[in-house]
Amino acid sequence: MNCIVCVTSVPDTASVIKIGPDGKKIDEGGIKWILSPFDEYALEAALQLTEAKGGEVTAVTYGPARAEAALRDCLARGAHQAVHVAGGEATLGDSFTIATVLAKAFAGRSYDLVLCGVKGVGTDCSQVGQMLAELLAIPHVANVTKLEVGDGSLTAGRDVEGGQERVECPLPALITCQKGLNEPRYAALKGIMAAKKKPVEKVEVASLGVTEGADPFYVVRSLELPPPASEGTIIKGEDDPAGAAAQLVNLLRSEAKAI
């Protein structure tokens, strides 16, 4: 059971987002970069599968130099190999180009299952996994919160509005992983030390025949902060909660027209 886990490096979810000087990208000053939270579920699922069935976990990222930290995190948690396709500054949010680069980077690698996070926290496109599956000509199941892998096939639970689809699928296949699938492990100190010595295979994006930015499928015209919230009506309800409740319901009805 060989697994490839696609990961990405994103701003910590606690980050305050500011707009950079070009008005198209975020200001990266002071941003702490982390392994995208949903990728943790993908990695954990791959580690559990290979622990149970043998085989190797390869973590792959396509990103700038800082993305190597996300790969080291994967290695520290138990991934066997790591591949860093260097680049990605000009293709942020361009799901199709990212999927194209990953598909090319997969050439010559064997896999039974490809795992992605349900989305990269930040660009929030939630598209690379499905596009990659199409380009690799394999089936996919997205938004997976339950997974059983048998001989040559998998059964997955995929969350949809108000329900869950139970999907059966032959391998090789791709899944995108949602919170609830498992409880990701933390890297132990021993793992962190060992990860520093493990090699990270470097691939230049140009060697895959892709010229970044030459033919984009996602062009950012501008990036803005949302308009600031106007000051709200705050009722003091410590002494007369029932009165405050009645006043609030009345405001929601007559002023906000929300109920």
Partner: protein
């Protein structure tokens, strides 16, 4: 001028409201003809009525193998309809199905896709989309780089559905090469009749201030009185008080209902990111300095255990 194709989602032949919203938006934008593509089994009867929302033609892929959703099967049908119409854009409602299908279709057609779009306008031959990024901490204005078709998923309940009258001409899609490997065996109802937060127009959410799982009953009673859904903060979900499907925020669901009530939620930046685009925000918290009050339109500084029960009574009075 090339037209716009809209994927129409149905469950048991009930057309999703969000798909009609997409269809109406297509009609507002299209330079050419608007076409719909309806996929399923025994769904053809619902096709002519799509004309009322602006579809001149409705392409129907009707096959027993398409009774339940399949990304591969549905992508084949949409691609067939795209081949028949050569549209400048293909719109999808940004539901679980649309968000899954659109990227698969786009890659099949060799193009990108713009996801979770909240505004879509025309600039010459390009559609210009505005979409939240960093879970709504910022908004990006983007286009598809001049590639066609421009594949776009629209966030539900942001675009208005407008009934204008008319009947769509039904065209049957034949010769589908269905090679479905990932097969949906069943759709299990896990909602227990509850409204899903992703679809709700009103959401009442609870957080750490509830002090324990049993007190979600209080949140539920207000949600029920308002006809809304139950949401939760990450803290409440991680404590095991309620299932993850209720989580609102950066690692949960990003929502924009008409009314969002946060009770006992202080308002961590990750939570605010997931709900700050709601139309009306109400906060109930005993800490007057809680960050949630900074983005609230209305708020009560007080004990939620003392405030919510009379709120439920007041709401019931309005309904009665």
């Amino acid at each position: 001028m090339a037209g716009i194709l809209v994927f129409i989602e149905q469950r048991n032949s009930d057309i999703r409201k969000a798909s009609l919203q997409a269809l109406s938006q297509a009609r507002r934008l299209a330079g050419g003809e608007v076409a719909a593509v309806l996929v399923g089994s025994g769904v053809a009867g619902a096709a002519p009525g799509l004309g009322a929302y602006g579809a001149a033609k409705a392409y129907v892929a009707d096959d027993p193998n398409l009774a339940l959703y399949s990304a591969e099967g549905y992508a084949e049908a949409v691609a067939k309809a795209a081949a028949a119409t050569s549209p400048e854009a293909i719109l999808f409602a940004g539901t679980a199905m649309g968000r899954d299908l659109a990227p698969r279709v786009a890659a099949k057609l060799g193009v990108g896709a713009l996801a979770d779009v909240v505004s879509l306008e025309r600039d010459g031959d390009r559609l210009v989309a505005r979409r939240p990024v960093y879970s709504g901490k910022a908004f990006a204005t983007v286009d598809a780089g001049g590639h066609t078709p421009q594949v776009v998923t629209l966030r539900p309940n942001v675009f208005a559905a407008e009934e204008t009258g008319g009947v769509a001409e039904v065209v049957t899609l034949d010769g589908l090469a269905l090679a479905i490997r990932a097969v949906v065996k069943e759709l299990v109802d896990t909602g227990g009749g509850e409204i899903d937060v992703a679809e709700a127009d009103i959401i009442v959410s609870g957080g750490r201030g509830l002090k324990g799982p049993e007190n979600f009953a209080l949140i539920r009673s207000l949600a029920e009185a308002l006809g809304g859904a139950v949401g939760a903060s990450r803290a409440a979900v991680d404590a095991g008080w309620i299932a993850h499907k209720h989580q609102v925020g950066q690692t949960g669901k990003v929502v924009s209902p008409s009314l969002y009530i946060a009770a006992g939620i202080s308002g961590a930046i990750q939570h605010l990111a997931g709900m700050s685009s709601s139309k009306v925000i109400v906060a109930i918290n005993k800490d007057p300095d809680a960050p949630i009050f900074k983005i609230a339109d209305y708020g009560i500084v007080g004990d939620l255990f003392a405030v919510i029960p009379p709120m439920v009574e007041e709401v019931k009075k309005l309904a009665g």
